[in-house]
């Protein structure tokens, strides 16, 4: 009897592995294998066709101590992340709070704010190139209505990165929905009790709303940080394959792309990718370590 049950369980386990087999195969072939290869190749002068000689830590040394463009690209990326992540987070929370006030036409507003977030790709980049065009674009015309003389956006090295951040802000609707879902889960009774105690709307926001949505803020910040570091396509399309004025849009991944697929200095590019991996890993670990200090989990009800 006991033996039969044991067999049943073992068989069950085998079936489980069969179910996840596609993922296991994909993980080994498309993730783990490539990771391993990339780690090894980052210590070589690999160029995909002829050579793969072990050159120790040469790539890493050159990157860190002898490559000005590496630092330029890292600076550009950090600049972009440092502004786009907080701004999109605050923007998304702000919109979701506005929407969560029993306003008429909630569905209508939600649709409008979310729509830009589902649009992406070359069409969107072209649209923003036109919107940001200093002479014929919408944005400087709009600023002109208020007597503001708009900058040259994508043509002025000081304004290229703010241009991309502005474009990013157009798609805060995804984050907004994330927060809205979580706001709708905050019990109404909490606000009613606070109102009886005479708490202002602002106090209610700081002491009820904000703590209740910290788990979502955490999730949002972690994922947009990882995403922000990987900015590539918008810069590639909007600079016509160059790095923008004075390399001001040469982001980390963009530089890596040039090294890997333009000059085929693949060992070098793979070393670069590992440095980025380490940066992202450390930042995520810091986030995870800091989380218990500010992220508020309500009981253990979730999961």
């Amino acid at each position: 009897m006991k033996k039969k049950k044991f067999n049943y369980k073992r068989q069950e386990g085998l079936v489980g592995y069969i179910f996840i087999l596609p993922w296991i195969f994909g993980f080994l072939v498309f993730t783990a294998g490539p990771l391993l290869f990339s780690l090894v190749a980052s210590f070589t002068n690999y160029n995909i066709t002829s050579q793969m000689d072990f050159i120790g830590t040469n790539n890493y040394e050159k990157l860190l101590f002898n490559d000005q463009l590496f630092w330029t690209s890292l600076y550009n990326t950090l600049y972009y992340v440092a502004f786009s992540v907080p701004l999109t987070t605050i923007g998304a929370i702000f919109l979701s709070v506005l929407l969560n006030q029993d306003v008429p036409g909630l569905r209508f507003f939600r649709t409008i704010y979310y729509l830009p977030a589902v649009l992406s790709g070359v069409g969107v980049y072209l649209l923003w190139m036109q919107l940001l065009d200093p002479g014929t674009g919408f944005i400087n015309m709009f600023l002109g209505w208020f007597g503001i003389d708009g900058p040259n956006w994508l043509f002025d090295p000081e304004w290229t990165k703010p241009s991309l951040i502005l474009m990013k802000l157009w798609s805060v609707g995804g984050g907004m929905l994330l927060y809205l879902a979580s706001l709708q889960g905050v019990p109404k009774s909490l606000y009613e009790a606070a109102e009886i105690d005479g708490a202002s709307k602002w106090q209610q926001f700081c002491y009820i709303t904000l703590p209740m949505i910290t788990p979502v803020i955490f999730f949002d910040v972690v994922t947009s940080l990882i995403g922000g570091f990987q900015i590539f396509q918008e810069a590639y399309v909007m600079t016509n394959g160059g790095g923008g004025p004075v390399n001001s849009l040469l982001f980390y991944n963009y530089y890596m792309w040039n090294k890997a697929f333009k000059v085929f200095d693949m060992g070098y590019a793979m070393a670069m990718s590992w440095i980025l991996f380490i940066i992202i890993f450390i930042l995520t670990m810091i986030n995870l370590k800091l989380a218990p200090r500010w992220v508020h989990y309500e009981g253990e009800s979730k999961r």
Partner: protein
């Protein structure tokens, strides 16, 4: 008199509500204006596009801009190519991830939690770390200038979708699965007869997100496709941009045509887009 009006709690609430509503109205105008601008520019003559100051409404509506744009490049071919890739990717993503997610959610096996942790942690790996060696792999396989690199990986699970669908499977009571097991049904049968029907809304979400992802994918085709006959719409649009320079009316018409299917999909299936977001945040919906 005025002061006392604002001091009354009820009135203050009313004012706040109106301010809130007005803010939302102004905000939605701001959010819609880029889209309006795209439509408006696409209908202008080149002369009007270049006129200063720019006009908010086109003077005469040049609908033929769309026809001219469509004929200026083989966009019909690009559409067929893009649809081919997109349909295959959606099929792969929906069925394979559903299958894998069922395994992670409903079948107990050794090391399940460890493996699922690995699934989640792969989401943290920056794409370029695996992109370069994957390119090496695909080029050694002779897959450059084919759709294999764009389609095949979709049939081997994606961490995000596995996560999403597993969340959904967790809401199906285990007793239901066990009861079916008692009846002698295999897990494969249960997945097909109970799992898929019950997770339909989540599958729709995965389908829509995958469609969107494949339709808008630029990086993949840019890397793997350099034969014009198999270009996708995103690549075609990028090349079109190079040819058109600053002829914004045609460029906006092209952009609009490429974005249109996604916009239409959004209006029809908004519910599933939103569902996906709720699942991400661990919501119960």
């Amino acid at each position: 008199m005025r002061e006392s009006y604002f001091n009354s709690m009820a009135n203050r609430k009313k004012v706040l509500k109106i301010v809130n509503f007005l803010l939302l109205c102004v905000g939605s105008l701001l959010f819609l204006s880029p889209l309006w601008w795209m439509i408006s520019t696409s209908l202008k003559t080149m002369q009007e596009v270049m006129s200063f100051p720019p006009t908010f409404f086109p003077k005469d509506w040049k609908w033929e801009n769309f026809a001219k744009t469509w004929e200026a490049a083989p966009f019909d071919l690009y559409t067929v190519n893009t649809l081919t890739i997109t349909v295959l990717v959606v099929i792969g993503q929906v069925f394979v991830n559903s299958f894998v997610a069922y395994g992670f959610a409903k079948i107990p096996f050794r090391g399940r939690n460890v493996l699922f942790t690995i699934v989640l942690s792969t989401m943290m790996i920056p794409g370029f770390v695996t992109l370069i060696p994957q390119y090496v792999l695909f080029s050694k396989l002779g897959w450059i200038n084919t759709y294999f690199p764009l389609v095949v990986p979709a049939f081997f699970g994606s961490a995000f979708n596995i996560f999403l669908l597993r969340q959904f499977y967790m809401t199906i009571p285990n007793e239901m699965i066990e009861a079916a097991r008692m009846e002698g049904a295999s897990h494969f049968l249960i997945w097909r007869k109970i799992g898929i029907p019950l997770t339909k809304p989540a599958l729709a979400t995965v389908a829509i997100f995958s469609f969107n992802g494949a339709w808008n994918d630029f990086l993949g085709p840019l890397l793997y496709v350099n034969n014009e006959n198999i270009y996708t719409l995103q690549l075609g649009l990028q090349v079109f941009k190079g040819e058109m320079n600053t002829q914004w009316n045609y460029l906006m018409a092209g952009s609009l045509l490429v974005l249109l299917p996604v916009i239409i999909l959004f209006f029809f299936f908004q519910k599933y887009f939103i569902e996906g977001i709720n699942l991400q945040s661990g919501g119960k919906s």
